[in-house]
């Protein structure tokens, strides 16, 4: 690896937190953080600040918009049916979350690249699934009727062309999607639902890994299964409560859809 001679400065720490560093510089900063507890503390502080700002102001996103602000009347959001199974999952939310946390801690034992994928992709995908797939009121931010706007917006924000894949053949209709903060980047989440009311979510984000194309991997924690894989700069995680066999069929369809440049 070639050496970057510039010393790590406070500006680097900010840029690191904000995802502004190129790969080489990022690795350099990470090596620096491992050796300098003060700098690592600084980074934790900046992250905590970002997180606190989100905690303070994100609730505004869920307030109903005053009528005076809406330039034209929008159709009332459709209500989604949801299965008893999902309701039970919502009630058991605490147990599920603690199960996932155990999952993460276990994997911290070995700080391999694989565990970075778990922390940055799989775990947030599973959490996001648990939070939104059980939501009866606002499961998605933009609904399937505005699919073009959704695709355009997500592509703009993620600086790459991204579209919700069509899974109609497998009986899953698009409910809609949303943009989410992920560990150190942002992620897109698409939600699908079948006639039985079962919901699956597809979580897509940029990942920085040496692995260009990975095989399908599967993780399951207390009822939520996640298939994940890496293709070029993007990581994909498909979460659902379908069981491994049925979920893999969907994962394959999604993978084909993205690989086909759809």
């Amino acid at each position: 690896m070639s050496k970057d001679p510039r010393p790590v400065t406070d500006a680097d720490l900010h840029a690191y937190v904000d995802g502004e560093l190129d790969e080489q510089r990022r690795l350099l900063v990470e090596a620096h953080l491992a050796k300098h507890p003060g700098a690592a503390e600084q980074v934790r502080g900046y992250r905590q600040l970002n997180q606190d700002l989100h905690s303070l102001f994100d609730p505004v996103l869920n307030e109903s918009v005053p009528a005076a602000l809406v330039p034209a009347v929008r159709a009332a959001p459709a209500r989604y049916r949801w299965s008893r199974r999902l309701q039970a999952a919502a009630l058991a939310g605490v147990a599920l979350l603690s199960g996932l946390t155990g999952w993460l801690l276990h994997d911290r034992q070995d700080r391999t690249e694989a565990s970075a994928t778990l922390v940055n992709l799989v775990q947030p995908a599973a959490f996001a699934h648990l939070v939104y797939a059980t939501d009866t009121q606002y499961p998605v931010e933009i609904q399937a009727e505005q699919q073009d706007a959704l695709n355009r917006w997500l592509s703009d924000r993620m600086h790459t062309r991204i579209r919700a894949p069509g899974l109609d053949e497998l009986g899953f209709e698009l409910v809609g999607g949303r943009l989410l903060p992920s560990t150190n980047r942002m992620a897109a989440q698409f939600m699908y639902q079948n006639a039985a009311g079962e919901r699956i979510t597809l979580y897509v984000r940029r990942v920085a890994t040496a692995e260009q194309h990975s095989a399908f991997h599967y993780r399951e924690a207390e009822g939520v299964g996640v298939f994940y894989w890496i293709d070029g700069p993007m990581g994909y995680a498909l979460s659902g409560d379908l069981g491994k066999q049925r979920l893999v069929a969907v994962a394959q369809a999604v993978q084909r859809s993205f690989a086909g440049g759809v």
């Binding site: 700002l53 505004v60 996103l61 903060p181």
Partner: protein, 170 residues
Amino acid sequence: MSASADLLVVQIPRLRRYARALAGDAVRADDLVQDCLARALPRLDQWQAGTDMRAWLFTILHNLFVNECRRQARQPDIAALVESAVPGPYDHAEADVRLSELQNGLQRLPPEQREVVLLVSIEGLSYRQGARVLGIPVGTVMSRLHRGRQALQRWMNGERGGAHGLRSVK
């Protein structure tokens, strides 16, 4: 409703979040958003499809905010501004206290630092996008961001600007 007006509506919750954080009180914030939408709607044809509509709207909102700050420039009483901030519930859970302190600290930041901190930290804009929205060089975005974050951290650590005698609002 046209496709771009549709896109505009979709952005309203985010504009409200940004304005709320910027202005510190809900009424003032929604006034800003309303003015912003009123300006954006007739100019929708000036927005180029395929570019980031949110950045375009943030730019409009920024200009309105700067004008408003200029009008208020003769009112240097920072304590009054803080008092008008929305108070958190009187819950003494540690996280709630911290967040309400952060809310106070944020309102004490110079507006130009507050804007940058919010655009990068909450809205997730890159430094370059932030520079475009605010019409300033990327280097200025970075220095304002650094100063803003440091000031907030000092505030959160209880360093309350000593000589100026700013009091902590509980």
